[in-house]
């Protein structure tokens, strides 16, 4: 029995309640301290638990209370901290804490009330995310899953006075709902076939024997639909770039480091099921690499600093799914971790830039920021190198592990992956060069306003940069005389992991090819954009890329507009003349009757007595023995 487990989600929940309820009476520093302190407390507890797990293995499942209890069907509100969840706990609370600290400075211009609302949402998000990774069954995970979706919606639409932001929030929510439906169906399917949703019970040979191969394929595919919605994979990825409407720290925390990796966590958690479903694995691998390439091509031509990072996130998530699809679960989780470091770093750096440029997000109006913002510049550069996969930065190790596993499955996947990696290096350094090198291209006022951000923003940047540099050390492959600690640590959970059977020389070759290609793309971009940035509107094929392959337009034409037309039909025809007609008709009829009845109320006492007498007559006729009355009346007349 470990009494610390429940503390982890409790702190953010308390922070949410305090900040949410008293946001009008607290002042800004206090709100910031409460919000960040709650996460820091969770981080400390997570750290303690992590070392317990590291030395003693997974902690026992801890049931807090019975959540659903019907007949012999029982779902506990239970927490499970094992190797996989402890890694995620550290990522969520650690990066979460840094981003909270960063936010206290970034959001400082907001009114106190909204400042409190922001931190309340952020704490609620961390709470939900912790539920998601700590839940000991799929139902608790689903609660967290929905909770993070809600917080994502609330935070994307944080500046709700701008209607475009509200549309973006709505889009994210609806697309997530589509995925959630798949998740929910999978859970129902599992319940119907196995009768339990506890991880411990589901992932046993006994339970798996109850599932036919069709069941497993269907369940895993449905779960993947959920993961695709949450982790922005084709075809449900378009919400993530639009989600950049939210404040930048939110983009860093939710839409880069944590929430969007929920799908990877879920699939890694269910790796036992996925390893039995080869069809699903292939689907995941193909969709993953397709997403990685599509998003990378779009990122090549974006001019909004946050949009580039958003598409880069989608692309990197695609790599993680590629890793999951080829069975490199550790690689995927490893990439989640390193990606959390450098992508949070990049987003926070972008936030710092936007902050300095007075809200400007278009990189064509930046340039030459190097000399104004030394810390931001350096840390951003570290992030770019890490994501480009240059050794010995962290991105290199995780990406390389995924690519090696992909090569073991199919060299084509590897080839496409390397192409994507080269594109990543290219667009990241295009971004870097356009933003930080060259000379400033904005207005004179903006130039005057440029400044390095305060310490509350630069310290998290430095910490994250440090982690981005050394984060790969936990997963140095054996080919490089490393130990791959992460692999050993996670092996009790990721039982079905297949280590690629590659000789060391092949691995060296693969590494060399990807590094050289990426380096070439990097240098090309640096050379091309530092002197002559791309300022005009793109033409030709570039225009297609800048317009995101017209995917949004396609969705609008194929799905959204027909639905809107149908809704219009329902609204204008069915509702107006059908339902309204009936309702109004009833109302008008009653009104007419009442108008006639009103005339009876003449106020003349004589009339009332007349009605009274008539009523007595009627009552006698109705309730007395009618036969006798009629007989008598016949006799009389």
């Amino acid at each position: 029995m470990n009494n610390l487990v429940y503390l982890i989600p409790l702190f953010p929940l308390a922070g949410f309640l305090i900040n949410g309820l008293f946001r009008k009476s607290l002042n800004k520093p206090l709100i910031g301290i409460i919000g960040s302190g709650a996460i820091l407390a969770s981080f400390v507890v997570s750290l303690v638990l992590f070392f317990q797990v590291k030395s003693n293995g997974a902690l026992p499942v801890e049931a807090l209370f019975s959540f659903i209890n019907v007949h012999d069907f029982k779902i506990d509100f239970a927490f499970q901290v094992d190797q996989l969840s402890s890694i995620f706990l550290l990522i969520i609370t650690g990066i979460g804490f840094l981003i909270h600290v960063y936010s206290t400075s970034y959001m400082h211009d907001e009114p106190t009330e909204h400042f409190g609302r922001y931190f309340a949402y952020l704490n609620l998000f961390v709470f939900s995310m912790l539920l998601l990774v700590m839940g000991a069954n799929f139902v608790i995970m689903f609660i967290g899953w929905e909770g993070v979706g809600l917080c994502s919606y609330l935070l994307i639409g944080f500046w709700f006075k701008n209607n475009n932001y509200n549309y973006a929030a709505k889009k994210a929510f609806v697309m997530n709902r589509i995925g959630d439906l798949g998740f929910l169906l999978a859970v129902f399917w599992l319940l119907a076939k196995v009768g339990t949703v506890n991880y411990h019970d589901v992932f046993t040979a006994e339970s798996l024997a109850k599932l036919t191969p069709t069941d497993i394929t269907a369940i895993t595919l449905l779960l993947f639909v959920g993961a695709a919605g949450k982790s922005a994979q084709i075809p449900l990825y378009t919400w993530l770039p639009d989600a950049m409407a939210g404040p930048t720290p939110v983009s860093a925390l939710i839409h880069a480091a944590t929430m969007v990796t929920a799908g990877i966590y879920m699939i890694a958690r269910s790796n036992v099921l996925y390893s039995l479903a080869h069809v699903t694995q292939n689907v995941i691998a193909i969709i993953g690499i397709a997403t990685a390439l599509l998003a990378a091509t779009i990122a090549l031509k974006q001019n909004d600093i946050k949009k580039v990072l958003a598409y880069s996130t989608v692309s990197q998530l695609g790599y993680m799914f590629l890793g999951l699809g080829v069975g490199a679960y550790t690689g995927a989780v490893f990439h989640v971790m390193t990606h959390a470091f450098f992508k949070a770093l990049l987003f926070l750096g972008a936030g710092s830039v936007i902050h300095a440029a007075g809200g400007e997000q278009d990189i064509r109006k930046m340039g030459g920021l190097k000399k104004y913002m030394p810390y931001t510049h350096l840390t951003f550069l570290v992030g770019c190198i890490a994501i480009a996969g240059m050794p010995p930065f962290s991105g290199f190790f995780s990406k390389d592990e995924i690519l090696a596993a992909a090569y073991a499955r199919s060299p084509i996947l590897w080839g496409l992956g390397v192409l994507g990696a080269a594109m990543t290096a290219f667009y990241m350094f295009r971004l870097y060069a356009t933003t930080f090198l060259g000379s400033f291209r904005g207005t004179h006022d903006q130039e005057h306003h440029l400044h390095e951000s305060p310490a509350a923003m630069t310290i998290p940047l430095v910490v994250l940069a440090f982690l981005s540099v050394i984060g790969g050390a936990v997963g140095v492959p054996e080919a490089l005389h490393g130990h791959h600690e992460l692999h050993h640590f996670l092996s009790p959970v990721l039982t079905t992991e297949v280590a690629p059977e590659l000789g060391h020389s092949t691995e060296y070759g693969l590494m060399a090819v990807s590094v050289v290609l990426a380096l070439a793309a990097l240098l090309f971009a640096l050379n091309k954009f530092s002197k002559k940035p791309e300022l005009g509107e793109p033409t030709g094929f570039g225009k297609v890329l800048a317009n995101k392959w017209y995917i949004d337009e396609l969705y609008d034409a194929v799905i959204v507009n027909p639905l809107l037309k149908f809704a219009d039909f329902l609204k204008n025809v069915v509702e107006k003349s059908g339902i309204d007609g009936i309702v109004n008709g009833v109302g008008r009829f009653v009104q007419y009757l009442s108008r006639q009845l009103r005339l009876l109320q003449s106020g003349q006492v004589g009339n009332y007595i007349l009605f009274m007498v008539l009523s007595i007559v009627v009552l006698f006729l109705v309730f007395w023995n009618q036969a006798i009355i009629l007989q008598f009346l016949q006799k009389v007349f």
Binding site: G603, Q604, V605, Y608, I609, L610, V613
Partner: protein, 111 residues
């Protein structure tokens, strides 16, 4: 005397009173019709009182069975007297205000 004769007589008087209330517009006449109806009921009560007394009287001449009916009549007279005093006061006041005793002027209930 068969009780039905008395009932029929009372019903006749009562209905004459009702028709009076319904057809006349003079408040005082309406009031008088109400008195007529009260009297018809009084007559019926006395008749019933004697009807219940009949078998008891045959067994014991000193029996007081059925005397309640006559006491009711007594109380009805009391109430009627009180009612008339108040009612006539109201009519006088109404006449003072409207200079009419037409019941149709009393249509304030409409509002």
């Amino acid at each position: 005397m068969p009780i039905q004769y008395y009932i029929a007589l009372s019903v006749c008087l009562f209905c004459i009173g009702i028709v009076g209330v319904l057809t006349r517009r003079n408040v005082i006449i309406i009031f008088m019709c109400i008195e007529l109806m009260l009297n018809s009921v009084n007559l019926l009560l006395v008749a019933f009182s004697k009807m219940y007394n009949a078998p008891a009287f045959a067994a014991n001449p000193a029996s007081t069975v059925g005397i309640d009916g006559q006491l009711f009549v007594f109380f009805i007279m009391v109430v009627a007297a009180a009612e008339v005093s108040v009612g006539l006061a109201i009519i006088v006041m109404m006449y003072r205000n409207t200079h009419s005793i037409d019941v149709n002027f009393l249509n304030r209930l409409k509002n």
